[in-house]
């Protein structure tokens, strides 16, 4: 488990980083927290000739909360998100999700942008960003462009990132005051990637028979090649009181999710667990 040898560069600016990426093309790989990348090198699953360590580029880390939007720099660590009072106040979904990501030592180093670029289908941040309808800020020599999280994830470990492009930040619209968030996942051990998880969001308002859920958003992790936005289940739950919303969403979920088995859990069990979590998350939103 020794990585093949590689060259290492630590640019001090975005421009320098773009130069390096351009010069080395496919042979270069961006290094952020290294918590996913280094493992793949050690296991010789990839062998880039050059690692371009972006952690020396100023301005890419940090959280800036405006009234209706929160901007999270790509190099912001998982831990920084977890401990941010602003995130706790504006985006409780992220605060809830953070503690499920790996272990503290990894959260201290791993980055928000790295997790999105990695696009592990069982990772927490991608599903949260999809649920929150976040927008990724991507930068390259050609300039900046913005891509919705809902279109950024294209397949298994596959994103809309183009060669030479970096994730620089993520902008997340702050849901309204009466929105509630619930993040739940099932993992065999604390810190493991989840078997299945759900990032849920809804407005809980007064309805005819108790609190009704509107603007329901359900994004799942661990049950597809990408984070899965369950549009059918969301539509089925929309406007219903919690108990009905849960039953309706669970019944519709088959149309959204086609999980494949992982090493320890069959597709059928994953589907079952996704339904269980759906019920629990919607109940929590209405509680």
């Amino acid at each position: 488990m020794k990585p093949p040898s590689f060259a290492y560069a630590r640019p001090g600016s975005l421009a320098e980083a773009f130069d390096l990426l351009e010069r080395h093309g496919e042979d270069a790989k961006v290094l952020a927290g290294g918590q996913s990348l280094i493992a793949t090198l050690n296991m010789r699953l990839s062998s880039p000739a050059v690692l371009v360590d972006v952690t020396g580029i100023p301005g890419l880390a940090g959280i800036a909360a405006a009234k209706d939007k929160v901007r999270i720099g790509a190099l912001t660590t998982h831990r920084a998100v977890e401990r941010s009072a602003e995130i706790g106040a504006t985006l409780p979904l992220l605060a809830q999700a953070a503690r499920h990501i790996a272990h503290v030592a990894i959260r201290n180093v791993g980055t928000f942008g790295g997790s999105l670029a990695m696009a592990d289908p069982a990772a927490e941040w991608p599903a949260c960003c999809v649920a929150l309808d976040a927008e990724l800020v991507l930068a390259s020599r050609a300039g900046e462009r913005r891509v919705k999280a809902r279109t950024f994830f294209r397949g298994l470990y596959e994103t809309d990132l183009k060669p030479g492009e970096l994730v620089t930040a993520v902008e997340i619209p702050v849901p309204g005051k009466d929105h509630r968030a619930s993040f739940m996942e099932l993992a065999r051990r604390v810190g493991d990637y989840a078997i299945v998880g759900v990032a849920a969001l809804a407005r809980a308002g007064a309805g005819k028979s108790g609190k009704a859920l509107t603007d329901v958003r359900l994004a799942y992790l661990g049950v597809g090649p990408t984070p899965m936005l369950a549009t059918q289940a969301m539509a089925a739950a929309e406007g219903k009181p919690a108990a009905d919303a849960a039953a309706a969403a669970q019944a519709a979920l088959d149309r959204d999710l086609k999980p494949t088995a992982d090493l320890h859990t069959s597709a059928a069990a994953k589907m079952h667990l996704a339904r269980v979590l759906t019920g629990r998350a919607l109940a929590a939103l209405a509680a």
Binding site: P3, V190, H264, A269, H272, V276
Partner: protein, 797 residues
Amino acid sequence: MNARAELPLHAPGTQVDKGYIGQSVPRENAKRLLQGRGSYIDDLRFPRLAHVVFFRSPHAHARIRKLDLAQAARQPGVIACFDGRAVAEYCTPWIAVLGHLKGIKSAPQHPIAIERACWQGEAVAAIVAESRAQGEDALAHVEAEWEELPALTDMRESLAGKYVIHPDLGDNVCFKRELVTEGFDAAWAKADIVVEESYKFGRHTGVTLEGRAILADYNAADHSLTVYHNTQAPHMMQDIFSRHLGIPEGNVRVVCKDVGGSFGIKVHVYADEMATAAISVMLRRPVKFVADRLESFLTDIHAREHEVTVRLACTKGGDIIGFDLDDLTAIGPYSVYPRTSGIEGNQVVNLTGGPYRHKHYRAKMHVVFTNKNLTCQYRAVGHPIAMALTEAIVDRAAAEIGLDPAEFRRRNLIPDDAYPYSEFPSGIKFERLSHHQCLDKLLALMDYKELRAEQAALRKQGIHRGIGLAAMIEVTNPSPAFYGVGGARISAQDGATLRLEPTGMLTVMCSVTEQGQGTDGIFAQIAASAVGVTLDKVRVITGDTGVTPYGGGTWASRGAGIGGEAVLQAGRALRSNMLDVAAAILSADKAELDIVGNEVVNKLTQEPKLSLAELGRIAYFRPDTLPPKFQSELTVTRHYTPRDYAFTFTNGIQASLVEVDPDTGFVKLLKHWCVEDCGTVINPMLVDEQIRGGVVQGIGAALFEECLYGPDGQLLNGNMADYLVPMCGEMPDIVVAHVETPTKQSALGAKGAGEAGTAGAPGAVMNAINDALAPLGARVTVQPATPERILEALGKV
């Protein structure tokens, strides 16, 4: 973790010298290890050190059509490349059988496979390079062509002989054993109730912090081989290197540095380690191999993997009449050298029904070959299987009769006054056990009645808690009956040398080794107590065949009971010799003197007479001042072998409290208790942590750990992300308490404690889960009990 329920006090009647025995003193080496100043094999730097990496079979079973190492040999830093034939010139193959396991058979195994690979991960070529990284780079340049052969992965297909892995052996049965007690059928026919159930135990492995590691340094000048090796049994390995490499035993020295955990994984002969030693001879230079994590999963021995059907017959009053066992276990393509892979199944036959006083027993057991990694002895060998299946079927019987599981056990556990007990139907003999004392203590400790009431109340609220009990016995302090009688050159005896230094310090050299479990610490306690010095005066040296007495090492819960007794006897003898010197210096009567707190004192008044530093100074530097002809003897060696019983059994009982989420199949471990009897408790803190660590590994087996193989024999989860070792986040508080029934075979009275936790925990947890599931009409009988398996049992997937 909880405070201990009760401080285990020194057992009355034990013949040990008081002092530190029974005290939770911190061990000396902990500071060094925790500060990162331990020194492991991989820390060694030698001039001309070469690193070997192995090209391993990607197939579970395949003939090597072509193996071309020429390109690899040309890569930067590569020193040499070898195939199996080249290495076989320097190292003879082995066949792992034992005389007392009648009929056991296996095929010759070479350090590096020749012609054919029999499991995915078996080494088929070695590349020696200036660095490990260069070696790994060169691996990509090995050209191999394979003819894939059918891979046998299913043990039933193996038993049925779908293919025969080693055609010369005739079939795939490595070992089988059948046993039936006299009058079995007649007794069985009288049973009111017979319960039957089948269980499956997954394959798992012992994940050590430090991987297997060896640095072999052959010196052609004097035809000597020094092997730095993180083995548990340095003298056994000295003998094996000597015989298989053709180097006189006296020229082979095995040195263990600090060892980062072993659990039985490091007590075996590994082909790649033998190859490393052979390559050192071939290249006449030091060669190092450290298994990385991926190699560890592919080649460190695996364990367990049983499919068992067990029946229990009892009267309607609840008295067990007997057990009927049919066990099938698979071990990979070779029996592991030199202990064999027949021991685990043999233990299951020996130990099933272990805690109980039934009279009848029938057992059938088959050990078969498969094309997966080899399995062999891992912590608690056979016990977790025997205890779990016994305790699960006992719970079934109790439920059938309508008796509380604790009550059913009380009825059937061998009475505490029935010892020595030689009526156990498998033939094993018990010197003295304390099942009933342990049961009573456990029930009080956990407040069993209160827990049952709480469980009933919570069930009404839809909360499914379960309480599981598992009584157990454990093989410890084995006599030569374990291996020696079968022809294995494995010492059942251990020795200790104690030397008083001129400054009054005490050096202890013992043949039992330290793997991180604290053996050195308890030897210091025993030596200090026996001689009469304070702990800070004692230094302990273990793990060096060039230095310590000859002995067996660390395995089968024998370190404290056997090595500790040797230290105690050596300490007593040294103390007597020291008093001779003191009497000579002081012109006093030896009988009036004693040694307390580093001083020779007057026995009656405790008045200090002479410091040990002064005694040492005179004995070593001014013996001219001593009476003529007086010769001091301040180095003493003593040995100890248990002889009266084949094994010194211990006993205990565990309980697990869990909550099962019937919607998700997730099990939450709420609490765990263990009351065990390891005889004299030398260091309560160390024993408790041994128990806790053992329980955690047992919980791993029950809930998490499993080596998953595809139908083609590929290991699917050989890494730390996909192989789930138990971690602290899921572990419950583990409450530990002791009953002390010292063995009368030794003066120390210590039995083993290292494996008890692992032996009982899988049964306790499985019973707790099934207790929680009982109102839902479901049972899980497969370990590990994954959420998926629990959901299946509940009919939800």
